[in-house]
């Protein structure tokens, strides 16, 4: 009797815990936690986007119309912190949770309870961070880079921001440990390291970056905290410290951080392109090495963010040359994607469109990155809108486009419903045009001499700022439309049922399980054949 019950229980793979608290608050299921991460990320994306809309509203015309300068600085600071730590990073952890166990044939993440904790820290951390808007003196206003001495003038929001950063740092490190432990220990038999999908590879490398640099960031902000409250002088020249020391520590974290936000995007794009080209990923092994190479270089280029701070000539030369080197592995990746498309049999469903836009627009961001690496020219570019254009090309049309493309690619697997291809394409064209109207003119503004982080500007910058704002409003609205598309897909409105395979050219273990993915997968191990995998066929 009891044996029979256990037996039937084991095979009831789709039993989900009942009730909201048990299902979501206490979940240890990698798919549910992945969903939570993705929903959280989308919420933060809309919140951070709303802040950006106020920024663009104020910059629509010269003169101050809507916000005071001190609030404007709070907006730019919080927009960046929320987008970086609340929207982009959690989105990738969401993808990692959902897809890594399935892609390597594991039943779940290696440390499911810790997985629950690393997610549920986040809402509290961001509530604390956002609450500073309502404090005396407002939110942090020294930029997301939190440079002292300015950030130390801010009052008690500093303590809140620092503790929020500590918490999301703990969350990130736990997430990274989980990813590493899962990939190293829980691959199905026959899933060798060089058979793993590239998304898994990029995340493995990203996880090591996270573990390496999040503690550095935590240390830097803790030093701010003790400078502010406990009378230390790490960054105070009058006490024997050095404000520039903070910049070195911050960017030692900060540069790997920007790759933490782009490497998983490379992984997503490397999954999507072969599917819709119906052709194996070109240069799989060189992709892996290029990712590792970019990760290594990210540790030795940090001071290219500080060319104007007054470094010795030797230092400037070193960081300029080291930064040049990054374009080589990055170039390899772009060439590999184009070669994957070459002589394929392409179709252009929504995920493919986002991926193609990613390649073109991310590369434009890469070009401006190469320009910024030229130290003598950077004396002009530095801290202007040219830089703003550059990092929005790599982060919005790079990271965010990859995330959106990834959502369209895998949402049929997650929900069991096809999204509406018509709405998806409208969303794509609406976004890709508006995002260029938004960010391309910012190159011109920067070159013409407009500094970043200013609430008001000289009238000579009026035209392109107006264009940029118009593009911004349109792009913002397009993402509300995206929320509607996601909602309709989850609810199955105006959509069809997804097949298990979903895409004709899809390879990889996730396409060999039912759609929607059952609550538990590969409980009894995964039978992996080379035919399951996207890139092993013609080795």
């Amino acid at each position: 009797m009891s044996h029979a019950e256990t037996h039937s229980h084991d095979h009831d793979h789709d039993h989900k815990p009942k009730g909201f608290v048990k299902r979501w608050l206490m979940t240890t299921n990698h798919k549910d936690i992945g969903t939570l991460y993705l929903i959280f990320s989308l919420t933060m994306f809309i919140f951070g986007g709303a802040l950006a809309m106020i920024i663009r509203l104020e910059l629509f015309q010269p003169g101050l119309q809507f916000v005071q300068p001190e609030f404007f600085n709070q907006l730019t600071t919080m927009h960046a912190l929320i987008m970086v730590f609340g929207a982009v990073m959690p989105a990738f952890v969401g993808f990692a949770n959902w897809m890594i166990p399935i892609m390597i044939g594991a039943p779940d993440m290696a440390l499911p309870r810790m997985n629950n904790w690393s997610f549920w820290i986040l809402p509290f951390a961001f509530t604390m961070l956002a609450s500073t808007f309502f404090m005396d003196g407002g939110a942090p206003a020294a930029g997301w880079t939190l440079y002292p001495p300015l950030v130390l003038q801010g009052g008690h929001n500093l303590a809140f921001a620092v503790f929020a950063i500590h918490m999301l740092g703990i969350s990130s490190i736990m997430g990274a440990i989980n990813v590493i432990a899962t990939i190293m220990n829980m691959r199905a038999p026959n899933m060798g390291y060089l058979k793993m999908p590239l998304f898994v590879w990029t995340w493995l490398i990203t996880a090591f970056l996270l573990i390496a640099v999040m503690p550095v960031f935590a240390g830097a902000v803790t030093m701010l905290l003790t400078d502010h409250y406990f009378g230390t002088s790490f960054f105070n020249a009058a006490g024997g410290g050095d404000p520039v020391l903070f910049q070195h520590i911050f960017w030692f974290f900060g540069h790997p951080e920007v790759y933490i936000m782009i490497l998983p995007s490379f992984g997503i794009i490397s999954e999507i392109i072969p599917t819709f080209a119906r052709k194996p990923l070109f240069g799989y092994v060189s992709m892996v090495y290029a990712t590792a190479g970019i990760a290594f270089l990210s540790f030795i280029v940090w001071a290219h963010h500080m060319f104007s701070v007054g470094m010795p000539l030797g230092g400037e030369l070193f960081f300029m040359y080291a930064t040049f080197l990054i374009s080589i592995p990055t170039g390899v990746k772009v060439f590999n994607w184009v070669s994957t498309m070459w002589k394929g049999s392409m179709t252009f469903e929504t995920p493919m469109l986002w991926s193609i836009a990613f390649i073109i627009l991310f590369t434009i961001g890469g070009f401006s990155g190469l320009m910024l690496a030229i130290a003598p020219a950077d004396f002009q570019y530095h801290d202007t809108y040219f830089v703003v254009a550059h990092f929005h090309y790599v982060l919005v049309t790079g990271a965010v486009f990859a995330i959106i493309g990834g959502v369209y690619y895998w949402i049929p697997k997650w929900t069991g419903n096809m999204y509406s291809e018509r709405l998806g394409k409208i969303h794509f064209w609406w976004s890709v045009i508006s995002v260029n109207v938004l960010f391309f003119p910012q190159h011109f503004l920067g070159l013409a001499g407009m500094p970043r982080r200013i609430p008001d500007y000289s009238v000579q910058f009026a035209n392109w700022n107006m264009w940029s704002s118009i593009g911004g409003f349109a792009f913002g609205l397009a993402q509300i439309f995206f929320c509607i598309i996601v909602w309709r897909t989850i609810k199955g409105k105006g959509t069809s049922k997804a097949t298990d395979r979903v895409w004709e050219g899809a390879k990889g273990l996730e396409w060999f399980i039912p759609s929607p993915a059952p609550h538990h997968t590969f409980q009894d191990g995964a039978p992996v054949n080379d035919e399951h995998l996207a890139h092993v066929s013609s080795h």
Partner: protein
Amino acid sequence: MNKEKSYSSSGLKIFLWVALVLLVNGSALAKSSLNMTQGVTEFSKIAYDLHMIVLWICVVIGVLVFGAMIYSMFAHRKSKGVTAAQFSHSTTAEIIWTVIPIVILIIIAFPATKALIKMEAPTDAEGKNIVMDMTIKVTGFQWKWKYDYLDEGISFLSTLKSDSNIARQIGSGINPATVENYLLDVDHPLVIPVDTNIRILLTANDVIHSWWVPEFGWKRDAVPGFVNEAWTNVKKIGTYRGQCAELCGKDHGFMPVVVNVVSKEDYANWVESQKGEQKVAAVKNNAQWSKVDLISKGKEVFNSQCATCHQATGKGMPPTFPALDGSAVVNGPIDEQIKTVVFGRKGTAMAAFGGILSESDIAAAITYTRNAWGNTAKDVAQPKDVKKIKNS
């Protein structure tokens, strides 16, 4: 399925059209004022040339890579009945597209290295170190610049001009387009001679600022507690405008840099007139002032130097910038208030004004605050009181 296909290809056409327009625009703009300025120094021309070289290299690479990709998107579509090839690597191709970028980078590295050396260790055509003819110390304050001519003993503050400052307030009702050089004009511009090697030392009093005139071709941070060095030699007489480039607090957008580059003769005359003004200031610092004069001068000083934070109403912007109306310090012993103004308050935004303003200006501003709004102290600070505390 058919409908899907036509939709996607018309979308592609729109995208290509937009890309083309952007590309054409981009190259046309290279000549217009929307590109980086060529500037008026040797270094600004070098920076511009490097910028253009790398821009064009990127354009060429972009055309080749995107061209191949776009060709592939049209030629290698399933709708054309193409079956996918199955190749997945080519060692030759991978070596080629690793080596070519390396060669390009080495080619870029040469002029970039030369330019950096020019900036950081300037030498003339024979390789001798360039001798600097004069030195100016630039100090960044929230939110103004102070210029010290170390050779001449001239020193003054440079703040946003009042017409811009009035127009930029929310609800000012003034159209910025009607203000001449809106946000890019100051009360006292830096004056330098043309064709002169000028060493510029940079530091800051409170937070990090960055001194930037695009036409000179560089910006450099002004870091509190440290002295940075840069140099320039302007080849063309004229007025050049820039801004603080490092976020430095609420009025970061409102601390322009204006430099008047004049002929050497005009510069010598200007130096003489400035020295005369400094003598007048010295007389004022030693004089005994009447209360009425102190209050009227004080109001002027307060509104230009103190009101950005403490507000013309004296209400401040708590908690960062406390109110002076009803303040315990302003209504307490006068020496304490003088100390606060002269030495600043560590750990707050209150700067040490002892080295920024003259003794008479500090005395006047303090007298004004103690007699203004609802404040009850009603007493008077004389320049000599300030001097006593400054030297204590």
